[in-house]
Symmetry: C3
Amino acid sequence: MSNQTKVNKGRFFENFTLNEVITHATPRTLTSGDTALYIALTGARNSTHCNASFTHSLGYSSTPIDDLLAFNIAFGKTVPDISVNAIANLGYADVRFTRPIFVGDTLHTSSQVIGLKENSTGASGIVWVKSTTTNQQNIEVLSWVRWVMVKKNNLTATAPKVVIPNLPSSVSKAQLTIPSYFKAHDEISMVTGGQYFWGDYEVGERIDHVAGATINPAEHTLATRLYQNNAHLHFDDHLMKKSHYGQRLVYGGVVISLCRALSYEGLENALTILAINAGTHANPSFAGDTIYCATEVIDRHALNDRTDMGALRLRMVGIKNMLPSQLSEFKSGEKYHPNVVLDLDYTVAMPLRGN
Amino acid sequence: MSNQTKVNKGRFFENFTLNEVITHATPRTLTSGDTALYIALTGARNSTHCNASFTHSLGYSSTPIDDLLAFNIAFGKTVPDISVNAIANLGYADVRFTRPIFVGDTLHTSSQVIGLKENSTGASGIVWVKSTTTNQQNIEVLSWVRWVMVKKNNLTATAPKVVIPNLPSSVSKAQLTIPSYFKAHDEISMVTGGQYFWGDYEVGERIDHVAGATINPAEHTLATRLYQNNAHLHFDDHLMKKSHYGQRLVYGGVVISLCRALSYEGLENALTILAINAGTHANPSFAGDTIYCATEVIDRHALNDRTDMGALRLRMVGIKNMLPSQLSEFKSGEKYHPNVVLDLDYTVAMPLRGN
Amino acid sequence: MSNQTKVNKGRFFENFTLNEVITHATPRTLTSGDTALYIALTGARNSTHCNASFTHSLGYSSTPIDDLLAFNIAFGKTVPDISVNAIANLGYADVRFTRPIFVGDTLHTSSQVIGLKENSTGASGIVWVKSTTTNQQNIEVLSWVRWVMVKKNNLTATAPKVVIPNLPSSVSKAQLTIPSYFKAHDEISMVTGGQYFWGDYEVGERIDHVAGATINPAEHTLATRLYQNNAHLHFDDHLMKKSHYGQRLVYGGVVISLCRALSYEGLENALTILAINAGTHANPSFAGDTIYCATEVIDRHALNDRTDMGALRLRMVGIKNMLPSQLSEFKSGEKYHPNVVLDLDYTVAMPLRGN
């Protein structure tokens, strides 16, 4: 019999239709094994996600999963349908951490195509999707927009009507949600080790974090597999040796998680991520790169009716093989410094002093 | 005092007696940490083992452990007694996945010597063992036969009577067991992402899976240690540098698990493994190898009284550093292509369309 | 705005004050994910920590966490305050495993400064701390003394009064605690695979363990991150390439855990660690090193009122890239052989034959 194949090779640019909704396969139940692996893979120390006594004291009935662990697992589900044939992951916007996620929750993700634009070469195009993750009770827990450049398979396919979605420059303040049971209290500093509270951060301030982490080959592949992200370019060295990179690429979510963990000193009281407003993988990362991180305070604002916590909007910049202190500017015009690997605009909840 | 040692160095060929039963030490309790690590180490996405909502819908009261994770852990227990002095793991037969295994179960394994044949050189011999794994309620959950070539320590020891067991070419159909509570249903495709059901696979059909995975050094050692398999040749580079391989060998179970995960696209609805009929590690694998996989459909048959699921007998071929599509034949006569690392004949349960 | 930083850079020698108590941040809740990772990272097979049926038979209501996993996690908490600016981790003493620790427990650690001595160069000094770990019920579960050499930041700071604590050469026998519910029984050999009991070990006896394990780069970093030990010299290769080591150092606790696992054959019935009397990292370890282990029996003594278990005091010596059998002496005078990486004096509980 012939070499007929049943293998789903994923969608190409011409296979996406505006407004269609794609239900992604293999929903995933989270376990305490995932949380331990996330600590081992990133060095995360945020007490909101690894200290049951503390989370009970904050009002949680159990310890919520790290925001970025949940995001990476939810994101992984979209890869076989959206980005397995992607040339580049161009950006994120409007990432909303709507509800806490717990061990035992099963995450289901679907995506709607909200924008399409064929490139002038006719060989590829940009696809915008809004992805939504619900838990086993069909309650939305996460949503985000991303856009990717995807190859065409049939080069003669007609270009779709150009639709570029109107994306917010940040998640709207009304969408920054904190459960009503979650309350900050006076002893946070004792637990987190952080001496700085919401009012201590000044807009424009920059924090150069001192910790660095070298990415070992097995670390990024273990993390990416834990997220069940199956994009070949992270795993298949035989394939990637022939690419112009000459080697496997590190999944961008690995760099985001690493930077969040590396920025612990200086942001100890950033209890939870409320939103990612925008994000770009400025340059690729490879095994062997040492990642450092700098944070800039973009905005500081109140949170709805809360008197115990406020929002800080932060710029988290990932830098490879160079100390943040050696880099006064991350971008020159539109062009990123070649050692900048991540530029992420996100919003955290930070307690006010004296609650 | 002298360098007296209490170290158990394991059995040599002359230490095995026909029919003796060896109770293996260190029974092991399975945890949700094992299941998360298995996903991180293999990229497994099979919903039967990582989606509690789905497994409840199939009739399970909790999510069963991945068949191959259980097999590898059960197998690991036999290593200190059976194969720590093995020269080669020659083959598997009659591997029966008798009952589902769950987080919290404690696996006990024992082995009976069912065959012995000294090699003509007098320096080693082949030992056949039938191993059986029971859970904490003393109920059999797994069994298998394997045969290994083991060194002699005392070269003057008399050769035992030659007994070569009569092994079935496949697990008998009567032994393919599915719990009565486990029922396939209509929404499987939505969960697994697979569009093909039992009736869609033709005997003789071959599927060349496109995913590949490069084995990083830490990945195979972490997996092998998770299985508490302590064979030195996987861990001790100082020792193995002096061997004719010049480096550590990857444990064969790592390759089996990787191939199963790499063959997900094309076999999405293969919900559970019922049997491994036969298996051979055709060539060794080393860290740095990129593993690919091809599947051939060997047989398709009904399953006892089931109308919701049938059996597919599959040949899973692992290939290193070469795309399956570049290899029309895996074997020439009795000789495997040097890039073929695994030839495994196994049987899965696959739902019928429209249940 | 200027590059003002909120990053806590840790204490220098002049920042330590005699008798002060430092409460360490980020208490940590243990999960079954930690226990699975510990097995994958070390190859530990001790049934006391991975076999629920066995631990129930010993009288435990749930399976206790591996002693050294708990120690490493508790120790990790002290790093940001005590040793992030350390030049060398000089030694351990009086390490008491006071109470069993279980999945779900949250460990809090604090340290008291019990000794200070500035070095004659005036550029650094030695700090002695006694660290104590309590669980979520504020019950002490672990304590230890260690001393580290720490850099001065302000070289003109006045030297403190020299106080060198009086440390016991071993944990006192009265402090070796076993829960009253924990009882050894007759079937231990069946479970552990060990044929030797307390009375079978002779003072002065040496056991050369045969297993070796090569440390892969990702393995030591995953372990160290799991312990949330953030000392830069384990993670930051960009930094360490400029150090006189030219590369990252392996955290000493990784070597201790590896040696304990490698010494399983010969010490199978060493059910639990009661104390670490003294410990030294004799030489540094690096990724790529293969670790072997030898054990010497230092003492054998009764345990309080127990008739089912006795104490063995053991010397565990870690050796890199050389078989223990090639090394008749580990030290010549005060100088360690360059391949010796660990010299640890510890005490285990070992059952008596026939209980």
